[in-house]
């Protein structure tokens, strides 16, 4: 299998993600430039990395979604290709309409950069099979606009279809208002689409891949991808 990491002007987690995917998990990976018109045919998973694409002008992700490559990312996702959006990548996915809802300025008006606990709510997506449902992970967050919002009817749908994949919790895995760092509705930290092939999350799994640096709980996402492709045989 091969992973493609899209580089937008202002992406700043692209190299960390490359390192996590290649060095730590041993997956073949290449960068994809935002001006490229199409995703190479040997790429089976596209990652939109964190950062501040286009300076977050207008709204986070609002300009990046019109990058030439995004048209093909939308086609790729609609055809069942795996797409993972981390932090700014999550914001881009909501702006592009590949995931429902939107990400607003943090409730406390501050940029938050710290490690949080998140609980795995759905371990049957291609991105989360290495985890068990209810497992509590330690992952870093670093964002100013991570307050997930969706209108009530959309939220109901997310619940019904088990599209909520990660929730902010305390260290015991209990969702509480005080363990919600940014004011996200329902403590939501990450969601997937109905077909389960598009996942967006605010925490940074690529920054949690080595025990020496505090946590390796993020590895599970990349291992899950590996297992998924081993099973489908690419």
């Amino acid at each position: 299998m091969k992973v493609g990491i899209v580089v937008f002007p202002g992406s700043n987690c692209d190299r960390d993600t490359y390192y996590a995917v290649q060095q730590v998990c041993g997956i073949d990976v290449q960068f994809l430039w935002h001006k490229d018109g199409s995703i190479p045919s040997d790429v089976q998973c596209v990652i939109l990395p964190g950062g501040f694409s286009y300076g977050d002008y207008l709204r986070s992700g609002a300009i990046a979604r019109f990058s030439p490559i995004m048209r093909d990312v939308v086609r790729f996702a609609q055809q069942g290709g795996l797409v993972l959006g981390i932090c700014n990548g999550f914001q881009i996915l909501t702006e592009a309409g590949l995931l429902p809802g939107a990400l607003l300025r943090n409730a406390n008006e501050r940029f938050i950069c710290r490690t949080v606990h998140v609980r795995v709510e759905n371990s049957s997506t291609p991105f989360t099979t290495s985890y068990t449902r209810g497992q509590v992970l330690q992952l870093p967050i670093a964002h100013g606009e991570g307050r997930y919002y969706a209108p009530p009817e959309v939220l109901d749908q997310l619940h019904q279809d088990e599209q909520i994949v990660f929730r902010y919790t305390d260290s015991n895995g209990i969702s509480t208002p005080s363990s919600n760092p940014n004011g996200s509705v329902d403590n939501i930290a990450g969601i997937c689409n109905r077909k389960r092939n598009v996942l967006g999350l605010m925490p940074h799994p690529e920054r949690a891949i080595e025990a020496l640096l505090g946590s390796e709980d993020g590895k599970g996402i990349f291992y899950s991808l590996m297992h998924y492709f081993e099973e489908v045989g690419v």
């Binding site: 207008l58 609002a62 019109f66 809802g101 939107a102 008006e109 919002y149 209108p151 004011g183």
Partner: protein
């Protein structure tokens, strides 16, 4: 074709907590403006465009707002159009 100036105002939908607005509201109260309420902070965009008439100009600006300038999931917008005579 005529030249128009459009003004587009974008604010968070009323159901959504506007934390910037809230913070400014508290600051205004602290300054003694205690009767202030419902402070909302948004974006103000002006642009010039050519169109056959103001109806077309308005329609184009609505399309721009729906597709890019505003995010309909979280924001409302209003457009005003004024013809420029240069």
């Amino acid at each position: 074709m005529a030249l128009f100036q459009a003004t587009i105002t974008i604010t968070l939908r009323s159901a959504i907590l506007d934390v910037q607005g809230k913070t400014v509201e508290h600051a205004l109260h602290a300054l003694g403006f205690t009767t202030v309420q419902h402070v909302r902070i948004g974006k103000y965009i002006t642009l010039e465009l050519e169109a056959t008439d103001s109806t077309e100009a308005l329609s184009l600006c609505n399309q721009m707002s729906e597709q890019l300038l505003a995010n309909p999931v979280i924001e409302d917008y209003t457009v005003t159009i004024e013809q420029l005579h240069r």
